[in-house]
């Protein structure tokens, strides 16, 4: 069949691929390459002439404290997101799948925890801005009522708490989403393994440790990497809630790039940030491929 198809339709696969390839070339790959080239010049959106600066933008970027502040915040984003969205989510998924509660109740819990994930980021961001507001926000109002007045603060307005307040919102939005992915992974673990463990007298915790965790190892690994890469790509929630402020305290690479390009109009410098972001996410994705492969060998 292959040979017949091969002879009769040798052009067909290329024609079928053509639209996808053209679109990706023009709107994905050429821009990435352009970004490298852009980073070697000093230019802005109005300048008719570009000044060649070679690696000048990178020499300026590496000692820039905002760059390191951003990377530090991206790293916090990654650490907290992995802890909550992967590891806490895994424990919650295992608990829901342990059938400690009936199916209807567990479906209700699952749907409730998932629901924030379908909301647009601006809806989430603005809602939480209101919840965090010093005067009318629910969080300070509750702290006030329970007598913890000293804990109240301008959550998004103080340098110490801004980034963590934003990170918390991301956890709120994505915990249920990853929990659902992990539930499906747990369902793919053969039932017999659980039965065998129970016959050996394993309780809930040992079943989790000895059956569930090894059974979902590969999925967990993939989710860790997706979450870490996602933490370095984050832009929208930070931009909506704090725009990187106050005083760059909650800046991440995405907001730093956007501000540099479209507020400060330093296009070459912004392209250098984009290139650094490319190498970081590319390296993390390469780790994913490598880890995925060695996971299958094991």
């Amino acid at each position: 069949m292959v040979s017949r198809m091969g002879r009769r339709t040798n052009l067909a696969p290329y024609l079928f691929l053509l639209p996808a390839v053209v679109l990706m070339l023009v709107f994905v790959y050429i821009p990435v390459i352009e970004s490298f080239r852009f980073s070697l010049f000093k230019w802005n959106s109005f300048s008719p002439e570009w000044t060649w600066v070679g690696l000048g933008n990178y020499r300026k970027l590496l000692p820039d404290p905002i760059f390191w502040q951003s990377i530090g915040n991206n790293i916090w984003y990654a650490i907290i997101s992995v802890a909550i969205q992967v590891f806490l989510a895994l424990m919650l998924a295992a608990l829901l799948e342990s059938h400690a509660v009936g199916r209807r109740l567990s479906t209700f819990f699952r749907t409730s925890l998932f629901l924030p994930a379908v909301l647009a980021i601006t809806i989430v961001g603005v809602t939480w801005q209101m919840l965090y507001r010093p005067d009318t926000g629910l969080i300070n109002q509750v702290l006030h009522v329970v007598g913890l007045d000293s804990w109240t603060r301008a959550w998004l307005g103080e340098e110490r708490t801004a980034i963590f307040s934003v990170i918390a919102v991301s956890q709120w939005q994505s915990l249920g989403y990853l929990m659902v992915l992990l539930i499906v992974a747990i369902r793919a673990v053969p039932r017999e393994l659980y039965e065998a463990a129970r016959i050996d007298g394993a309780g809930i915790w040992r079943q989790f440790r000895d059956v569930t965790v090894p059974g979902v190892r590969e999925t967990t690994l993939v989710l860790v990497i997706i979450t870490v890469v996602g933490a370095f790509k984050v832009f929208d929630v930070v931009w909506v809630m704090t725009a990187g402020g106050p005083n760059h305290a909650s800046e991440v690479l995405g907001t730093f790039l956007y501000r540099t390009a479209f507020r400060d109009d330093e296009m070459g410098y912004a392209s250098a940030i984009a290139t650094m972001l490319f190498f970081i996410t590319f390296a993390l994705a390469a780790v994913q491929l490598w880890a995925g492969r060695s996971g299958k060998d094991a």
Binding site: M1, P19, L23, S35, L95, T111, G254, A261
Partner: protein, 295 residues
Amino acid sequence: MANVKPAASATWSLPRVRSHPEAASPLMRWSVIVLFGVFTVVSLYPMIWLLTNSFKTDFDLFEASWALPEVWHWENYRRAWDFGIARYLINSVLVTTVSVSLTVTVSLMAAYALSRFRFRGQTAFLFFILGGLMLAPEVSLLPLFRILQQLGIYNTYLAMILPYVAFGIPFVTFLMRSYIMGLPRELEEAAYIDGAGPLGVLRNVIVPLSRPIIASAALIEAMRVWNEFMFALTFISSEDLKTLPIGIMSFVSALQTEWTVVMAALVLSALPMIVLFLATQRQYIEGLTAGAIKG
């Protein structure tokens, strides 16, 4: 999972609680209920808070924002609607529908080529398309901005649609390719013997068989495009063309002090996706997991 014995699948369909007697111990059961009760409250309460406060006056909001409104101010919704939310909604529906249809069509063709033909450069094409999964959209942002200007489509619907499609292709093609590879080939063989060409086979055999994955992929893409923020923020400048996520930002800055009207606008913006999700939950989650587990 394919060769599950009949006996095993019979157990599977029993109420699962019964097959795990020790899991049903009351202490365990109630601990899980309390734990998930807390998570459910944390998860849902901000949305409920938004909903109840959207019916208040700003003055009530300052008092005790957890209380139910004493008078339900439906006029907040009237005002939010009059402010022009309909325009953003229409833009979002339009951009989402066109982007998703294009992404699905283009990706289905690509997935068909990659899974059912053998040709020179096949692996290279596969890597070319799936490689897009590894790229952060931020990296392309600035050059895209210029390319769209040079193509003369900056600040048009196409400035959103074309990048959305291009960035959607890798994931959707990936989903569809693994699905098509799992389909039996007999029907295609029969169609070829009956004299059908590759396009006929795609239309009359592959598309009908791929309905479930088309639906899942379309839903996932619809949610992604509907909620997309960065491209819409950067490639659109006219108020008339803004989609909901960006329109909300205009709202917030225009209605700055009228918090409860902003809240009504947020509720109106959130409703379509919540309804769509609750209606299509199963399909959506199946599609998601098909992608994530194999990824």
